[in-house]
């Protein structure tokens, strides 16, 4: 039984996304809102916003995780855990509303605000991924003679990957949606037609931003590294190095 290759779904979604952007761009009058920008331009901005925010969030998340890993199960862990749960229960809009006055207006502030929003889901994914590995397996790896670095790359990372990956995907999806809020503070992206559409009560204009944004989110969600679900072994990874 031959399954579809892993890259197929994301590529199809992405192709759908591009076609949709081009189609909506030609179909609807461009630039009904100020400043005048065409949909491909907005798509590019939105992608930059989302991926930029992801990187802005990933760096501190990784830093926090490494810090906590070094410090061991101390007070930091409990604290970070509670903070991450808190940020997950607060709605995105509310969180951004809280962050925007702090960050200010424009592209860089929204990037920072979204980045902060991304830190904790990514931290939780890292923490949860590595914590999901049974202690026995780690002890076995050491007992068989893996040194700490070999153990990290050949055992821990591949086994943490399913949880980690799920967190990365969810964060990308959430950031795609959250990035539309950037328009409220003057940033670009698909938020611009949505906000303009709301102001002028024009559902078509709203759709012009909302539909491609949703397609982009679905494209991110379809990214997977393994074809048989979260428990599947990572076939690509070989011990031989």
């Amino acid at each position: 039984m031959k399954r579809a290759p892993l890259w197929l779904a994301p590529v199809l979604w992405l192709a759908g996304f591009v076609l949709l952007v081009l189609y909506l761009d030609s179909f609807l009058a461009t630039g009904l809102f100020q400043p005048r920008r065409r949909l491909p331009q907005l798509a590019w901005e939105h992608l930059q916003l989302t991926l930029g925010a992801f990187v802005f969030g990933a760096i501190p998340a990784l830093g926090l995780f490494l810090l906590q890993r070094r410090a061991g199960p101390g007070f930091l862990k409990g604290f970070l855990h509670r903070v991450s749960i808190f940020t997950e229960t607060v709605p995105t809009v509310a969180l951004l509303a809280l962050l925007i006055p702090l960050a200010g207006y424009g592209n860089l502030p929204i990037l920072l605000a979204l980045g902060i929003y991304g830190i904790f889901p990514l931290y939780t994914a890292l923490d949860g991924g590595f914590r999901s590995i049974p202690r026995q397996i780690l002890e076995n790896a050491s007992g068989l003679g893996f040194n700490p670095r070999q153990r990290l790359w050949k055992i821990e990372l591949p086994l943490a990957l399913p949880v980690l990956w799920a967190g990365v995907r969810t964060t990308l999806v959430n950031l795609t949606a959250a990035a539309t809020l950037g328009a409220t503070v003057g940033a670009g992206g698909f938020g611009a037609p949505i906000i303009a559409g709301i102001r002028s009560s024009d559902p078509l204009l709203i759709l012009q931003g909302a539909l491609p944004s949703a397609f982009l989110a679905l494209a991110f969600d379809s990214l997977s590294y393994s074809r048989t679900g979260p428990d599947a072994p990572v076939r690509a990874r070989r011990l031989r190095s």
Binding site: Q136, L144, G145, D231, P233, L239, R240
Partner: protein
């Protein structure tokens, strides 16, 4: 030969090992037995430096293990624990190849060794591409043993290797272990809290109790020691010991029915003697080991 000298280990206020000294004879199977929490696993982990003792030292062939890089030491000591230990993202072949690859053997040599080891633990070659979740408990445990034997280490450390298996599989794997050991003659240190398993597999028995070494001897010589030793060995120890005695085989080994098996037949037949398949009559008196070994 592995020698443990005055080793103690505390976890906070919890005493895990208290001034333990013993020698594990080379080429023989030594069983570490004792109640739960008596320090068996801790002692085993001290031998491969997964745990560092608070005091005392361990030498292998006279060399202090602290003079070796931990990872290199561990690659020379085969390591098997209860069945959950296989790497789930490695195939059977990759699991078995773990230590040879860590030792950077060339690929053809690794492949040849892996093939040799699956044959040794009597798994079909077609299993090499399977993943651990596709194996039964007994099969997984065979892979675990094959993995421990990967680079042909002179020593095997086994922590309840047959612990989570059903009784039948467990007995079968014990027999296979004895066959393997007869061929390979490794220095084996095996943790179990099952006395039957200890008597079946062990040349020597080290009894641990609350972190102290209660006794170290052959199972036969532990008989009738009294005190806490007797409490641990239990009232049926003499009966269990009969499973180590084979009146029909000239040399002590595991061939032929044991005294215990024959006694069962006598009881079942209602006679103080039994006629074996080979046409020999074994009497009750033959069941009793003659001189202490």
């Amino acid at each position: 030969m592995i020698e443990v000298l005055g080793v103690s280990k505390n976890y906070g206020a919890q005493k895990a090992l208290d001034n333990v000294s013993l020698r594990f004879p080379a080429g023989r199977v030594t069983i570490l037995a004792g109640p739960s929490g008596s320090g068996k696993s801790t002692l085993l982990k001290i031998l491969n430096r997964l745990v560092e003792p608070d005091s005392g030292r361990v030498t292998i062939d006279g060399v202090d293990i602290r003079s070796q890089v931990p990872e290199e030491l561990r690659r020379s000591l085969g390591w098997v624990i209860q069945s959950t230990g296989l790497f789930p993202h490695f195939t059977v072949a990759e699991n078995i190849a773990t230590v040879p690859r860590l030792l950077k053997w060339p690929a053809p040599r690794v492949d040849a060794r892996v093939a040799q080891l699956v044959d040794l633990v009597r798994l079909p070659r077609s299993f090499l591409t399977k993943y651990p979740h596709e194996l039964s408990g007994g099969e997984a445990q065979r892979v675990g043993v094959a993995r421990a034997l990967g680079a042909d280490p002179p020593v095997l450390l086994m922590d309840e290797p047959f612990g989570s298996l059903d009784p039948q599989t467990r007995l079968a794997l014990q027999d296979e272990f004895l066959n393997l050991q007869a061929q390979l003659k490794k220095t084996v240190i095996l943790v179990t809290h099952e006395l039957d398993e200890a008597l079946k597999l062990g040349d020597f028995l080290a009894l641990l109790d609350q972190g102290s070494l209660l006794a170290f001897d052959t199972p036969e010589r532990l008989q009738g020691r009294g005190g806490r030793i007797e409490t641990f060995l239990g009232r049926e120890y003499e009966l269990k010991l009969l499973s180590r005695h084979h009146p029909l085989s000239p040399t002590p080994g595991n061939e032929g029915p044991s005294s215990r098996d024959l006694l069962v037949e006598m009881i079942a037949g209602g006679q103080p003697s039994v006629l074996t398949a080979a046409g020999r009559t074994v009497t009750f008196a033959d069941l009793i080991p003659k001189a202490p070994q």
